[in-house]
């Protein structure tokens, strides 16, 4: 009955890339929990659900190094590109990656 063709992803402008400090992160509250948006030292941005696969720690509060974040609760290092724990904790769960696009310096967060 619904014949509408939809963009599978609904994008929301959540701010400017420069609203996030380099090697920093900000969070965006959503109905299904906070999303963390990270900006790495080389200026790239990534979005993950703001919860460590270990004990749900807020990754947005961690230290960002390279393309990884270290969780503030128990120091798991999470790969920002795919949400997977790195090093000794590899393979122990995964944090969902949230669609994120940059257009003209604006951050567009997707709702998949």
């Amino acid at each position: 009955m619904n014949a509408l063709v939809k963009d599978p992803i609904a994008w929301t402008d959540v701010g400017a890339v420069t609203d996030i400090p380099l090697r920093g992160a900000r969070r965006v509250p959503t109905p299904s929990g906070d999303v963390a948006i990270f900006r790495t030292g080389d200026g790239r941005v990534f979005a993950l659900k703001d919860a460590c696969p270990h004990k749900g720690g807020p990754l947005s509060q961690g230290i960002i190094h390279g393309h990884a974040v270290t969780c503030p609760l128990h120091a798991w290092a999470i790969d920002l590109a795919n949400g997977e724990p790195m090093g000794a904790d590899r393979g122990k769960g995964c944090t969902p990656v949230i669609p994120l696009e940059v257009r003209d310096g604006r951050l567009l967060l997707g709702r998949a």
């Binding site: 959503t30 109905p31 200026g43 393309h67 270290t70």
Partner: protein, 818 residues
């Protein structure tokens, strides 16, 4: 047979190159006319920077002079802008009513400089850096003695503009929004080195600076006002903040336009008779502002216009900076990404930083600073997608080393080196000297080789080579020695060496340390960054700017994160004293913010648990209003000074232990230390303040003050050791501050005082505080550092500092869509 008519709109590099590509393939096919808006022949815009810098003249950068147009039978309509295209009639209309018919049309309208819409942008002396007129204006401005320029934009163009102006005798400052120069081509490490190199050439940089207004005087630019309130005076203001494809004509003609004129792989627009090329186009969603892609587009276009098959499939980009003596190269995914790995090489002695990014065993990008000779080689490996697994070990050393050693395994490669091959660049030690000493002196370890030959004794970057030589010479008799434990996996240097070098080399920023000590990662990790941040803060009080992104969350937000992501708040209670007013304010805060748990701590204060992050500044504001400040219960720094009531109330008290505790805390609060520091003052040997299990404890006795150090009551339980005894309260304060400063300067990050003491020995600490001069010097350094430390971080944040830390980026997604 009459020739087809080909018209090119745009007499720039792309337009003329497209014509050359056509002529090369089929010189007689078209009757060609070119329209150009600038009243000049075609010149190499890329070389405007050297013209500005006075390193080239305009004649040097002309690509096609008048003879070229004449010899190829091309009509040049210079200084005539095309106003409209009639696609039905296939006619272009130019300024002055000229109309020309075409069979094929090429749009090569280039791009425009972006002009920031700042107040004052229309003042005289505000220019962009795009064409020869801009360069002429800049050279004229530079002729005035003592003239100053500000360049907005720290990208390639802005830096070249500033450098050129400095070469012309101006003082120039680059103002850049981001805190890394050329951030689209460079990572933070290379950006830091670039800023340093530019400073040496006289170009100042203001990073992370937001331009607010261009200030004028009598219609002429006089300065640039920044958002932080400062005004940079200037006589010339150059905007070099980027370019925008010039697609106005295409849009007005009804062609498909996105950010630029949309073209397919044959460079055709939505009208097959009209092609577009250069900076005005958008191809597969991409716009280009560099010359190499333009040449590649022109090839495809030339082929299409002469009936051949060719497709432009997008370009892989590389960049070189044109500033004499500053070697910078960048290409591809220089910053890595999913599934990428980094190989990083730093040579502090030569000021070299190289980072090669690998993806699926192939080069995916590179950034080179200080030695860009291998840029072309990496770019080649990248574009040809060469499998580099077998040359990975030597890849970072460049083409000549790699080609020289191809096929050899690393140990064999070292064995194959000639005896006069230099191994240690710092001390000029060659291979023969090392292997000779190993044999003749019977050396067995890295340390012995260092002691005898000096090889690997300075920067240490040749350590792996020296170890391989030991292995090759001694065979199984060699076992790799473990040196001092490295700070982390990013470096082979230990804490001691790192701290020593920060002072000895005058290293004052994190990138400076990472470069000088040849860190092997681009920006460190969660272990070394907080350590370096502390070491720098301790070494350069008042000078080093704390890097909050290198702080653990608790120190970044000045509260303790809890298991559910909420925070706890502990206000300071000096020496454990509080008052009715303070308690009332705490009670009010608990009610107002519905704080679930209130607990008394072991350090004689009150902990408010379960505060939401967003509420922190408001909670602090209320506590501040009642006179309370942060208790630093989260800090690698001074925590509490626990006291008993002492001679004020206690019938056994020998001294005013509460008073001394308050005095110590009021003097020492806010200080950062390698790990947490807890103090206590007991008024008599009954020790009700439990001073003998604290980091530093005072036990008052009739004749004075016993000072104890090195207690712990955490993971380890350990009583203190008596360090010294002093007679006056004054001396007690001096001594405790001196111990703390010695610990601040000598402790390794996260090393508690008792561990530091075990490492350096009680006697060493005793010697420092018992010698009056040393004690005095330590105390003075502590007191100086405290001038910058005794600032309430809560009050600063209540006043608006780092608000981004506490507010969500956006609340637009907070509720489900209707």
């Amino acid at each position: 047979m009459t020739k087809e008519r080909l018209i090119i709109v745009g007499n720039g590099m792309a337009g003329c190159r497209a014509v050359q590509e056509v002529l090369k393939r089929d010189p007689d096919r078209y009757e060609i006319a070119i329209f150009g808006a600038e009243p000049r022949v075609n010149y190499d815009r890329i070389m405007l920077s050297p013209v500005l810098a006075g390193e080239k003249r305009f004649e040097d950068i002309v690509i096609n002079d008048e003879a070229w147009y004449r010899d190829n039978g091309i009509t040049l309509h210079a200084g005539r802008a095309v106003e409209a295209i009639d696609r039905e009639a296939r006619v272009v209309r130019a300024e002055g009513g000229l109309e020309l018919a075409y069979d094929r049309l090429i749009l090569a309208t280039g791009s425009d400089s972006i002009r920031l819409p700042l107040p004052g942008a229309d003042l005289k002396g505000v220019v962009t850096f795009r064409d020869l007129d801009d360069v002429d204006a800049m050279i004229a401005a530079a002729a005035k003695p003592g003239a100053r320029a500000v360049v907005i934009g720290g990208g390639l163009l802005g830096i070249e503009a500033a450098y050129g102006l400095v070469r012309r005798g101006m003082a120039a400052t680059v103002v850049h929004l981001v805190d890394v120069l050329m951030e689209r081509q460079l990572d933070a490490s290379a950006g830091f080195l670039l800023a340093s190199a530019l400073a040496e050439k006289g170009v100042d940089t203001e990073l992370g600076a937001v331009s607010e207004e261009i200030v004028g005087a009598e219609g002429h630019v006089a300065g640039l006002k920044l958002k932080d309130g400062r005004t940079l005076p200037c006589d010339l203001l150059v905007m070099a903040v980027g370019i925008r494809p010039n697609a106005a004509l295409a849009r007005a003609s009804g062609l498909e336009v996105g950010r630029g004129v949309v073209v397919d792989d044959r460079m055709r627009t939505s009208d097959p008779r009209i092609s577009a090329v250069g900076e005005c186009v958008e191809h597969r969603g991409q716009c280009y502002g560099l010359v190499a892609p333009i040449w590649e587009m022109c090839k495809a276009l030339g082929a299409d216009l002469t009936g051949a098959d060719a497709a432009y499939e997008g370009s892989v980009l590389s960049t070189r900076l044109k500033v004499s003596g500053v070697d910078v190269f960048s290409a591809g995914k220089f910053s890595g990404g999913e599934g990428c790995e980094d190989i990083v090489f730093r040579d502090a002695g030569r000021g070299v930083y190289k980072r090669v990014v690998l993806e699926n065993g192939r080069v995916a990008g590179a950034v080179l600073f200080g030695d860009a000779a291998d840029g072309a080689w990496y770019f080649d490996l990248m574009r040809q997608s060469v499998e580099v697994a077998d040359i990975r070990e030597t890849l970072i050393f460049g083409q000549s080393v790699t080609e020289g050693l191809r096929g050899l395994d690393p140990s064999a490669a070292v064995a194959a080196l000639a005896d006069d091959a230099e191994i240690c660049g710092c001390n000029g030690v060659c291979k023969g000297a090392i292997t000779g000493a190993i044999v003749s002196e019977g050396l067995k370890s890295l340390e012995e080789v260092r002691a005898v030959t000096k090889a690997s004794a300075s920067c240490g970057s040749c350590t792996p080579l020296v170890e391989k030589l030991l292995m090759a010479t001694l065979g199984d008799a060699f076992q790799a020695q473990i040196g001092p434990k490295p700070v982390c996996g990013c470096t082979h240097h230990g804490h001691e060496e790192t701290r020593r070098r920060i002072i000895a080399d005058g290293l004052k920023s994190m990138p400076a340390v990472m470069q000088a000590l040849e860190w092997t990662t681009p920006d460190g990790c969660a272990s070394c960054r907080p350590a370096l941040n502390y070491y720098l803060l301790c070494a350069w009080p008042g000078e080093y700017r704390d890097d909050k992104q290198s702080r653990f969350i608790n120190e970044r937000v000045h509260a303790n994160i809890q298991k559910d992501g909420t925070y706890s708040v502990v206000p300071r209670m000096w020496g454990g004293l509080t008052s009715a007013d303070e308690l009332r304010a705490i009670a009010d805060v608990v009610d107002k913010f519905q704080i679930p748990t209130v607990k008394v701590t072991g350090g004689q204060r009150i902990d408010l648990l379960g505060v939401k992050k967003d509420d922190l500044p408001a909670v602090w504001a209320d506590l501040n209003a009642a006179g309370m400040v942060s208790g630093h219960a989260y800090a690698k720094g001074l925590r509490t000074v626990k006291t008993c009531v002492g001679s004020d109330w206690c019938r056994f008290g020998t001294q005013d232990s509460t008073g001394l505790g308050v005095r110590l805390e009021k003097f020492m609060w806010g200080s950062w230390t390698p790990a947490k520091v807890k103090l206590a003052v007991s008024g008599c040997p009954r020790n009700c303040a439990e001073a003998t299990c604290k980091d530093i404890g005072v036990v008052c006795v009739d004749s004075g003050y016993e000072i104890h150090v090195g207690g712990a009551a955490g993971l380890h339980i350990q009583g203190t050791q008596l360090l010294t005894k002093v007679v006056t309260e004054e001396e007690a304060l001096w001594t405790i501050c001196a111990i703390t400063q010695a610990y601040r300067e000598q402790g390794w990050y996260l090393e508690r005082i008792y561990k530091w003491m075990a490492r350096v020995g009680l006697e060493s600490i005793k010697a420092q505080v018992e010698d009056p001069e040393t004690r005095r010097a330590l105390y003075d350094r502590f007191a100086y550092s405290q001038r910058f430390a005794r600032i309430d971080p809560w009050a600063e944040r209540v006043a608006g500092r780092h608000t981004e830390e506490f507010n969500p980026l956006s609340r637009r997604m907070e509720f489900a869509p209707a």
